[in-house]
């Protein structure tokens, strides 16, 4: 299943850019290019081969590190991307941990106290948090912590190799900006899942037999409510990646997102193609990890989902 999805994803990304009107060779050479020169460059780039051949050789390039040459930087795409992959993956993992660490306890707490004015206030606050776009939070955070408090210097991203602590500190603010609306969504989802589970017969039986509520919540409800929550958190990875594209721009973080945006403006398709596929693979991988975790939590899922 994982392989099938990845093949479809890469095929879509490849075909989409293949459909673009106008040959990349013409874009590279400009409008004054002669026809012979264009044909020559097309042969050089391998653009004169049929579609399936080009797709397969491009896909093979993914595993050998040969992703073609950037149109605008004139250097191998992989060299361009390699130092940035780590930064973006770090940012998305950090955001993910933050979301999981904050929203799970908060969701449990919110599920236990439902009804009343406090609950309504919580819902409104929740909606408000969901309404704040990550790039606006990012602008506010850089205003408060960089310009006013000088906690970090905006635009000077510390080198990951020589100063990992400083780099993580810098990424932390970006992760907070990404996490806030997602935390709100996860809390909301967790709260309604747990409340639906609490209304089930087995919970009523357990409580009527004299088990304490907190224990039932921990031992039975949480375990049953976990499967949809893990699936939801895996889907969050897609949203994190989307938000990080924008937030990297806000904080001037030299990651894949920034390169993607500048490559789109430059119509540098080999770079765009490679980044799109890497980000999509990352999301698919998160989804597969969630499936595996769910199969451990709920043995029933092992029957159908084994592939």
């Amino acid at each position: 299943m994982l392989l099938v999805t990845m093949v479809i994803v890469s095929l879509l990304a490849f075909a989409a850019f293949d459909l673009i009107s106008g040959s990349p060779a013409e874009i590279m050479l400009g409008t004054q290019a002669t026809e012979e020169r264009v044909a020559e460059l097309e042969a050089e780039l391998g653009l004169d081969r049929p579609f399936p051949v080009r797709y397969l050789s491009w896909l093979a390039g993914f595993f050998t590190g040969d992703l073609g040459t950037s149109y605008s930087y004139h250097q191998p795409v992989w060299e361009l991307i390699a130092p940035k992959v780590g930064i973006t993956l770090c940012l998305s993992l950090l955001s993910f941990l933050l979301i999981a660490a904050v929203s799970i306890p908060l969701g449990l707490w919110a599920a236990r106290r439902s009804g009343g004015p406090l609950d309504a206030a919580g819902t409104v606050l929740n909606q408000l948090c969901m309404a704040v776009p990550p790039f606006f939070t990012g602008v506010l955070l850089s205003w408060v912590f960089s310009i006013t408090l000088h906690v970090f210097v905006h635009g000077q991203f510390p080198d990951m190799g020589s100063d990992p602590g400083g780099a993580l500190g810098y990424l932390f603010f970006a992760a907070v900006a990404i996490a806030i609306p997602r935390i709100a969504m996860t809390v909301r989802m967790l709260r309604s899942t747990i409340q639906a589970e609490m209304r089930r017969d087995y919970v009523r039986t357990a409580i009527s037999r004299g088990n304490d509520r907190a224990g039932v919540l921990r031992r039975h409800v949480l375990r049953n409510a976990l499967v949809p929550v893990v699936t939801f958190l895996a889907q969050t990875m897609a949203e994190i990646v989307a938000a990080s594209i924008v937030v990297e721009q806000v904080f001037a973080i030299p990651g894949l997102g920034r390169l993607l945006v500048s490559s789109i403006s430059n119509r540098d398709y080999p770079v765009v193609q490679a980044i799109v596929v890497i980000l999509a693979f990352w999301v698919v991988l998160a989804g597969t990890a969630a499936d595996l975790i769910n199969q451990r939590i709920d043995p029933r899922l092992r029957l159908g989902g084994a592939s």
């Binding site: 673009i20 969901m130 790039f135 606006f136 594209i245 403006s265």
Partner: protein, 271 residues
């Protein structure tokens, strides 16, 4: 099941969204100052009665700019949702009701598309259509929102395919088209309305993000996203610019979000 037609969230959301819509519609025909006029007031002035949100480093009135920008964002989000909802509902209705091979194939494609975060997908489509043009932004986002609407409607139509009132309509000789539109569609409203509010908010976010990145709506068209990136450069001298534009986005999404919450609670399903 008890069904309330109105609740606090829905009411608050309707009021807030209604007020904002009225302001935005007003902004399309009239703004206190010309949004692009330099020196409409003193440069870099904080909020005053004459300039509700202050002025920027060119002396432009920020309130007028925010009104105009919100108008662009609002219209783009509306057209995007319209494209996504109409095409998505049609696709979801046909595949959900008839099923078969086409349904299977489209669902697999849909699954693969979820691996692409929506903004990423929109950026891909936009880079193919050509960035920096508002019509291309609408088309790109509209296409991107089709699958999510299709997924929601497909599930609703598939679940209602074999209920008794649909069966009896079929027995009475009603055509498939009539059953889809007259019998099933009205009963999916409970699912569709919240999906519309979520879609609208996603569209506002996506448009603002792309314009912030400089590949969505670009000048001379004003959009809240582009203005926020402009405001980021004036953060030290005119923080009210960023607060005004960002605040407008937050209020717009917040109002529609409350409406969605209210609609879901009215439907008896707190998802």
């Amino acid at each position: 099941m008890r069904r309330k037609s109105m609740n606090g969230y829905l009411l608050a959301g309707l009021v807030l969204t209604g007020a904002l819509t009225a302001l935005i519609l007003l902004g399309l025909v009239w703004t206190p100052y010309d949004p692009d006029a330099m020196l409409a007031g003193p440069k870099l002035q904080g909020p005053t009665l004459a300039h509700l949100l202050g002025t920027d480093s060119f002396g432009r009135d920020i309130f007028s700019r925010v009104l105009r920008g919100a108008g662009t964002t609002f219209l783009i989000a509306l057209s995007t949702v319209a494209i996504g909802a109409v095409c998505g509902t049609a696709a979801g209705a046909l595949t959900g009701y008839f099923g078969g091979v086409v349904d299977e194939a489209l669902m697999r494609l849909n699954d693969a598309l979820t691996a692409f975060p929506s903004i990423l997908l929109a950026l891909v489509v936009l880079s193919i259509l050509g960035p920096g043009n508002k019509y291309n932004v609408v088309i790109a986002l509209g296409i991107v929102f089709i699958p999510s609407f299709a997924r929601v409607t497909r599930a609703a139509f598939a679940s209602l395919r074999d209920v008794n009132y649909v069966k009896s309509a079929r027995l009475m000789g009603a055509s498939s088209g009539r059953i889809l539109v007259r019998q099933i569609l009205p009963n999916t409203v409970q699912v569709l309305l919240p999906a519309l509010t979520i879609g609208f908010n996603n569209a506002v976010l996506a448009e603002a993000s792309m314009s912030y990145l400089g590949i969505g709506v670009t000048p001379p068209d004003a959009s809240l996203g582009y203005m926020l990136s402009e405001a980021q450069g004036m953060l030290t001298s005119a923080p009210w610019y960023a607060l005004g534009t960002g605040g407008a986005i937050v209020l717009l999404i917040f109002g529609v979000g409350l409406m969605g919450e209210g609609l879901q609670r009215r439907g008896g399903e707190v998802a």
